[in-house]
């Protein structure tokens, strides 16, 4: 059954069991970054419970009635079991939003389809000609009317993008991924001369020393990780509905303080550190998709560098198949008054999700940075290779 824009149908007329099906979404949109989501709304069309926004950061609704699942050949999708939805959920709306520049008039062909097992039971096709300046669309909704589940092909949207869409559902958008902890207020950087030069450490083992400037403290040492999703495009707020394509790359560090204390700062295990107290190292965000424009930042409080003996900075793939080549991870190390240092993770061991990137050592008060880029099977291997000596257990962010 083909659904045209505005058309309604009973779910039972599309899906014989009337309860379980998968929605597949595809949009041909070269150059656009699209984020897909499924909103579970109450009778008033409101997202009364944010846990019913199903997207990469929340792959399953609490009841299990909506879960990320991409049918073969589609770009995004949701497995739906209407029988598991609580009575408070009256409406499921499948949405798409553009992250970054562009409008929906630029998309090519697209569809939302009902999959009954592996066969297509209904399809709503649309194209960029249906839209103008919209940056977020409600594609299709499934709603309960007098106890009967129905669907309507919507194909309507908002010029204001995701924020307008979420506002329509009575919610607000955080500026960063919702699962990330609120970042602590970053310390103000001392104004320093603009320095456009960058030092890129190409060969492993290269090192530079950031000489201590007079007696001044080092200020903030900022270690930034940026990476790209496997599709090659920088991914956005709602991206990552790509099933097993989902990749979560994290930055973290092992540290050893002058007093002998040793541990790690990383999102896994929620050990985000502390900037103002030991270990004087803090992770300010957990970018689980590569969406955050600023990436993930690990900050070392240079005012207390004298209490830090060494720091091993690493990146690891928390989720998703290790593919460093496509992740294109880039570590940037910034210290006020010093040139930026870039380390590109350009040598790949795709069977190993852990990469020790650089070692920062306290050499008589100076910061000595050595590029490593050695790949490991996990924390324990890396720890042993660098003689850190921590006890490691499996952790989860969830």
């Amino acid at each position: 059954m083909n659904l045209s824009r505005g058309q309604r149908a009973k779910i039972a007329d599309l899906i014989p069991n009337g309860q379980r099906f998968t929605l597949g979404v595809s949009i041909d949109a070269p150059g656009l970054i699209l984020d897909f989501a499924c909103f579970g709304l109450d009778a008033g069309g409101r997202l009364a419970d944010e846990r019913y926004m199903t997207f990469f950061n929340q792959p399953t609704s609490p009841c299990g009635g909506v879960a990320l699942s991409v049918p073969a050949g589609d770009r995004a999708g949701f497995a739906v079991d209407l029988g598991r939805l609580p009575t408070s959920i009256e409406r499921l709306t499948v949405t798409v939003a553009i992250d970054g520049a562009g409008t929906m008039s630029r998309i090519g062909r697209g569809h939302v389809r009902f999959m009954d097992g592996t066969s297509e039971a209904g399809c709503f096709e649309f194209s960029g000609a249906d839209f103008a300046e919209e940056r977020a669309l409600m594609l299709l909704e499934i709603y309960r009317k007098d106890g009967v589940w129905r669907t309507c092909a919507l194909g309507q949207g908002f010029n204001g993008g995701l924020a307008a869409l979420v506002a329509h559902f009575g919610g607000t958008v955080a500026t960063e991924t919702q699962a990330a902890p609120p970042p602590p207020a970053p310390p103000k950087l001392q104004p320093s001369p603009v320095n456009l030069s960058k030092i890129t450490l190409e060969k492993r083992g290269n090192s530079v020393s950031l000489q201590k400037q007079f007696n001044a403290a080092h200020g903030e040492i900022l270690i930034n990780l940026k990476w790209r999703s496997v599709s090659g495009a920088k991914k956005g707020f709602l991206s990552g509905l790509m099933g097993n394509n989902r990749t979560d790359l994290d930055v973290g560090c092992l540290y050893e303080l002058a007093n002998g204390d040793k541990s790690a700062v990383q999102a896994l295990g929620n050990t985000f550190g502390d900037y103002y107290r030991a270990p004087y190292i803090a992770l300010d965000a957990d970018d689980r998709t590569g969406s955050s424009a600023g990436g993930e930042n690990l900050r070392i409080n240079g005012e207390h560098w004298d209490q830090i003996k060494r720091v091993l900075v690493y990146a690891f793939i928390y989720e998703g198949a290790p593919n460093w080549a496509e992740a294109e991870a880039l570590i940037t190390l910034k210290t006020p008054g010093q040139p930026e240092i870039e380390v590109r993770l350009d040598s790949h061991r795709n069977d190993r999700p852990m990469c020790a990137i650089a070692l920062l050592e306290n050499q008589g008060g100076a910061v000595k940075i050595t590029k490593l880029v050695d790949y490991h099977r996990g924390h324990l291997d890396m720890d042993q290779a660098h003689h850190w000596g921590l006890d490691w257990v499996r952790g989860s962010k969830d």
Binding site: S4, R5, G6, Q7, R8, D130, F131, A132, E133, E134, M138, K145, R150, C152, A153, L154, Q156, G157, F158, N159, G160, A164, H168
Partner: protein, 191 residues
């Protein structure tokens, strides 16, 4: 308590509201919440004979001809956006003034410029038609069309018709393609 009809249902207005004379036909829909061109919906009314045709073009009441010759029907005005609470457009009917040859008052709503705007009734939400007794402001009957939308651009919402000396109302909810022009032609209007 007003009667709520489903598609195809009918109610005897003369029995539900004895001595009903001054009627308000209220029509409503929600303005679009999304961006894009407004949905400009127009209410019209055809006063038709037994054969389903108007006696003359003067009995086609719409935005450019808001009043019938004998004054039985009066269109209260064109709402261009559907914004606001309650009825978006309404038509006043004075039942005793309806000419004897007119058997039915066919209430239609059409989407203005629907094809150019790529719009249809499926994109309109919360459409309804209601019959109100203007003498006491009581709603007599209501028909919520929200599940009878179609992808067409014109809809007969309902009709008020004579039956054995009484006036009745039927919930029609039938969609047509071709907009107001097609409906006008069907009801014998020369357009």
């Amino acid at each position: 308590m007003a009667i709520s009809l489903n598609k195809g249902g009918n109610v005897n207005l003369s029995k539900e509201a004895p001595n009903l004379e001054n009627v308000l036909v209220g029509l409503g829909w929600d303005a679009r919440a999304t961006d894009g061109q407004d949905f400009d919906l127009d209410a019209s009314l055809f006063m038709v004979k037994d054969d389903g045709k108007v006696p003359s073009d003067a009995y086609f009441i719409f935005y450019n001809q808001p009043k019938s010759p004998e004054g039985a029907i009066e269109h209260t005005g064109d709402n261009r956006t559907g914004a606001g609470e309650g009825d978006d457009e309404s038509v006043h009917v004075t039942l005793s003034k309806v000419p004897a040859e007119v058997q039915r008052l066919v209430i239609v709503v059409t989407i203005h410029d629907a094809d150019a705007r790529r719009q249809n009734f499926g994109q309109v939400s919360n459409a309804f038609v209601r019959i109100v007794n203007r003498d006491n402001n009581q709603e007599v009957v209501r028909f919520d069309l929200s599940e009878d939308y179609s992808t067409e651009t014109a809809m007969i919402f309902g009709e008020i018709y004579r039956h054995s000396g009484d006036w009745k109302f039927r919930a029609v909810g039938q969609g047509y393609s071709g907009g107001l022009r097609a409906l006008a032609l069907q009801h014998g209007v020369n357009v």
